[in-house]
Amino acid sequence: MTDPAERPEPGSISEAAGRAVQADRARVEAAAQAARRRRSSVAGRLDRGLRWLRNRQTGPLPRLRRVAGVLRSTARNRDSWRALPDALATALLAPVRVASKPPPPRPPRDWSPQRAAARDRLARRAALLTGTGGSRRRLAVIADGTDLEAWTRVHDLVAVRPEDWAVVLEGGEGEGGIHALVVTATPAGNHGAWAYRIGWVAHPDGLLQRDLGALIRWCHERDVPSIFVIGQAAAATGSSALATWADAAALFDLVVTSSTEVASALERHPDRQGSGVRPVADARDIDAVLAVAVA
């Protein structure tokens, strides 16, 4: 059963689900009270004491039996007496650490608060992102060489690097900071600096997306929206593309892609934290991407 404390607040899912959660909480509380009463009774205390004595992993009685076993086997097998103190200590003291059973599978997490926050973030930044009078936006980007070259003509780019993005972006906060984070699905973004750190790859740098996750969190804490762009080339590999990019895409406020197949698959991702996936005709056109993001 899910820990009541971890359940979403009523209202974050639906009213009916909220009522069910309340009813469930009441049942759990009643059961907990009954268990407390049982535990504090004399019979309950006696039972707990006996169970502690007999506990096969940690209780004193099995430990004493183990000590007897060590003495018996040492005498019978003529084992080295030198090993006896170690064996006795082990029989008396080990194991002090017992693994608990794995918890039951967790129900899929409710990401609706994160999704709503992503929508709000994009809405708040809409005016800044679309700009007026052709003004240049300041964008933190991770992209391949071609995109960087094309985008730098229309906007002010900060090509962030894994080793110093925090220092660089914090240094620019005095000048108003960045307007958005735009990351494209490319295997070696920013001239190879982000290689093995965005798409799925069997390497510690990429598996838990520590660098990318931290960068996105940094942006969200400052109300800077994050956009992931999956172009035609990245989407062309079909199910392999999804396996490569789906986990990274799930972290962003919005995914923009030119592939309808990829869009519908990502929309169904159970851990999608962003507001959704939107189609774009040309994923290489940064202005089209920004326009779609705030549409």
């Binding site: 183990r66 084992d79 693994a99 290689a195 996750g213």
Partner: protein, 530 residues
């Protein structure tokens, strides 16, 4: 050659046929492939059936130990962790083991408290899909195991990457022991592939994670077009999910009453391969609604058995399975429902059937017992090249165009000799990147994201090279070299020799100037990477 004595213990009940029980047989056979290895295998439960133990008994250097040596009346659930470890300690006192291969997290967490055996502990498969690796308490326990164990054993390169990401203490002591199979042509396994046949196969335990009811649906649907189609189900371990009482009953009813279903019950592994050898289509489908996606990194024993038999397998695309069969294997699915059209195609397209079957058989070769043993031998035999063996890991795609420079911890700028050699090479070979690493003492924590102290070296970089040079503190040299194809170490440069040696062991070519760098790039790009 010195004789080696290995204790192998798994909490699997060998009276039941399941992937975990087959794994024990597979690992016993793998160690037995070493000519001087003696294996002692304490059982968790007394023998009631010889389905697996009889197969193990054929191996002359394997000794099965009855759990009643530890406890006169063993309960149906078998020995508890503490009792099993008591038995292992007792056997160790009689004659010491060189390695104690202990499977599963709950046993290893108990075993690290035992000073008498922990220095020889090979903690095996402790990253369990059922446990939450984002839980700090669990991660702390994994770290404790990794710090104390002689080695941590995982089953695939993908699992090693995940373990080393979650548990930095495991870096440099995590080794790979995949499940293994006999080599084709040995132990009665024919070298030729079986002919196409109208049979579907499933072998393994019955658990909602493996959607067997859906496979029976496929059979019923396909029998309209192929009335002689059969579904052969092998195994007798039926999981009874809490709150899902009817699932097991419904499954049993369908297995016993559906026309075309042949339920063989529990069958020894050799007989499974013999049954598969009659030809057909094997199904290895997963339902992620009932299991963790960490299973994507697992090498499935049943997949290897299917491959060894030389039948085409319709299976989920996962990282580990794509590595085994190749990314372009034609029978991968994303969901179980996608399997039906593929099965239909296989039944009508003999060329596809034969090409997929050949692909599967070829994949099994890499998991033959002698190959798996050769991966373990350096560690068990404590050979001097064990450290080099740990560093020799497959390179990542694209590594061949990345050049690594491991510098000593005290450098304050990237030496000009390195930049000049890289600049000259770049003039001849476009699209290469330079990764400058600063050595850190072993066990150093990873730098905070976006705040790597190595970035301080950027100040002295020339404008023309700044954008193609990455800077990084090397806290994990084993995996750092997986991303690099060539090392650049000009004479006189402050190179960290220990890191460079690991690089050499990982298979990188070492260049000392622009000329040798270009030459190494040409060699590296001839396609040695995966």
């Amino acid at each position: 050659m010195t004789r080696r004595r290995v204790c192998l213990y798994s909490p699997a009940d060998l009276n039941l046929v399941s992937g975990s029980a087959i794994w024990v047989q597979s690992v016993a056979e793998t160690f037995h492939a070493g000519e001087n290895v003696e294996i002692v295998l304490p059982l968790r439960s007394p023998e009631r059936r010889g389905l697996i133990t009889d197969q193990i008994r054929r191996l002359p250097r394997v000794t099965l130990v009855d759990p009643r040596r530890q406890r006169r009346f063993v309960p149906p659930t078998g020995l508890y962790a503490a009792e099993a470890l008591d038995l292992i300690e007792k056997l160790d006192r009689e004659e010491p083991f060189d390695a104690i291969v202990l499977r599963s997290f709950p046993y290893c967490i108990v075993a690290i408290e035992r000073p008498a055996i922990r220095d020889r502990l090979w903690s095996t498969y402790i990253l369990e899909p059922e446990r939450d690796i984002t839980n700090p308490a669990h991660v702390a326990e994994l770290i404790a195991i990794a710090e104390v164990s002689r080695y941590v054993v995982v089953q695939s390169e993908e699992m090693r990457a995940l373990f080393e990401a979650v548990v930095p203490a495991g870096r440099g002591k995590t080794i790979i022991l995949p499940p293994a199979v006999p080599a084709p042509g040995t132990e009665g396994i024919p070298e030729s592939l079986p002919p196409p046949a109208r049979r579907l196969f499933y072998a393994g335990k019955f658990h909602p994670f493996y959607p067997v009811p859906r496979m029976i649906d496929f059979l019923e649907e396909l029998r309209g077009d192929y009335p002689d189609l059969e579904f052969h189900a092998i195994g007798d371990q039926i999981f009874r999910p809490p709150g899902g009482e009817t699932w097991a009953e419904d499954l049993e009813r369908r297995l016993t009453s559906t026309e075309g279903v042949v339920w063989h019950g529990a069958v020894p592994r050799d007989d499974v391969i013999r049954l598969l050898g009659a030809g057909g289509i094997a199904l290895s489908l997963w339902d992620y609604g009932h299991g963790s996606t960490m299973n994507d990194l697992v090498v499935s024993t049943k997949l290897l058995d299917y491959c060894l038999a030389g039948v085409p397998v319709v299976l989920n695309r996962t990282a580990a399975q794509a590595t085994i069969l190749g990314d372009d294997y034609p029978l991968f699915v994303t969901t179980a429902d996608e399997a039906l059209p593929l099965i239909r195609r296989l039944l009508s397209d003999e060329a596809l059937y034969r090409s997929a079957a050949a692909r599967c058989r070829a994949a099994a070769d890499a998991f033959a017992y002698p190959r798996a043993w050769s991966g373990l031998a350096p560690y068990l035999e404590e050979r001097p090249d064990a450290a080099a063996h740990l560093a020799a890991r497959p390179k990542l795609a694209g590594a061949e165009r990345r050049i690594g420079v491991p510098l000593t911890a005290d450098v304050t700028r990237v030496p000009e000799a390195i930049l000049s050699a890289f600049r000259d090479a770049r003039a001849l070979v476009d699209d290469i990147a330079l990764v400058v690493g600063i050595a850190a003492p072993p066990g150093s924590p990873d730098p905070a994201p976006g705040r790597d102290p190595a970035a301080a070296l950027r100040v002295g970089l020339p404008d023309d090279l700044g954008r193609v040079v990455s800077l990084r503190t090397i806290t994990d040299p084993w995996n750092w070299w997986r991303t690099l194809g060539i090392a650049l170490a000009p004479d006189g440069a402050p190179i960290d020799q220990q890191s460079l040696d690991l690089g050499r062991a990982s298979g990188v070519g070492v260049a000392t100037d622009a000329e040798s760098l270009v030459s190494a790039l040409v060699t590296a790009n001839r396609g040695w990477t995966s």
